[in-house]
């Protein structure tokens, strides 16, 4: 089962972990991206995310398909939060269950790399004093 979600609501790691859990699987690997309180010397107040939603959902589905071509995984959840995300809270949760652990560990790593390079979502960092700044992922081909 592939679960994909773009949401303005706070992400629950437990809920997403339970969602991918499967009685036939011995392993769940997860990656949680959280908001850092600093960038270089600037103090980050929060992040603001926006997405090209229908295209982002398609791109997330493509990542699921690619993962399944590469590894034997059972359930996949790719959740990305949109709107304001305060410091320490999760902007992304990736969870994958697999019968054995190697598959889900590798699949999660692949998914986060693929998400950063291919899914049309953008993040603005809002600082305490400096001007807010749109970020760009080094994984994105047209970033530089």
């Amino acid at each position: 089962m592939d679960s994909i979600k773009l949401t303005n609501v706070k992400l629950s790691v437990e809920e997403i972990s339970d969602l991918v859990a499967s009685p036939s699987c011995g392993a769940i690997s997860l990656f949680v991206g959280t908001t850092r309180d600093n960038f270089q010397d600037k103090k980050v107040v929060h992040l603001e995310y926006e997405a090209y939603e229908p295209m982002a959902e398609k791109a997330l589905k493509t990542i699921c398909r690619d993962m399944r071509e590469k590894w034997q995984v059972e359930n996949i959840a790719l959740y990305h939060r949109l709107g304001v995300v305060p410091v320490k809270e999760a902007s992304v949760v990736i969870a994958v269950s697999s019968p054995h652990r190697a598959e889900s560990l590798l699949a999660v790593q692949f998914a986060i790399d693929a998400l950063k390079s291919s899914v049309p979502i953008w993040k603005k960092e809002v600082y305490d004093t400096d001007t807010p700044q749109w970020k760009s992922n080094s994984e994105c081909a047209w970033a530089s």
Binding site: E50, Y52, P54, V92, L115, S118, P120, W122, K123, N137
Partner: protein, 88 residues
């Protein structure tokens, strides 16, 4: 000259491109067949995207397009102006 036939398309702006253009979306009449470069150039001029023009990619109907290709458009197509991604 069929090349000059124009069609109405929808243009979507995100992130920095949204801020520079001052809008989330717009309508535009544009040639139904043109190069990627020509399409990009038209959008940059029309919507004041000069500041980021070297760091944009275009998507047509939710598919990334790339330089060096011809783009064929029909009425109602959705073009998105996509700055460098920064999800996750």
């Amino acid at each position: 000259m069929t090349n000059n036939l124009k069609v109405p398309v929808k243009v979507l702006f995100f992130a920095k491109a949204r801020e520079l253009s001052g809008r989330k979306e717009s309508e535009l009449e544009i040639e139904c067949s043109l190069t990627y470069e020509c399409l990009l150039d038209t959008l940059v001029k029309e919507f004041s995207l000069e500041l980021v023009e070297n760091h944009l990619i275009l998507a047509v109907n939710q598919e990334y397009k790339s330089a060096g290709h011809n783009i064929v458009l029909k009425a109602g197509d959705e073009i998105a102006v996509i700055p460098p991604l920064s999800g996750a």
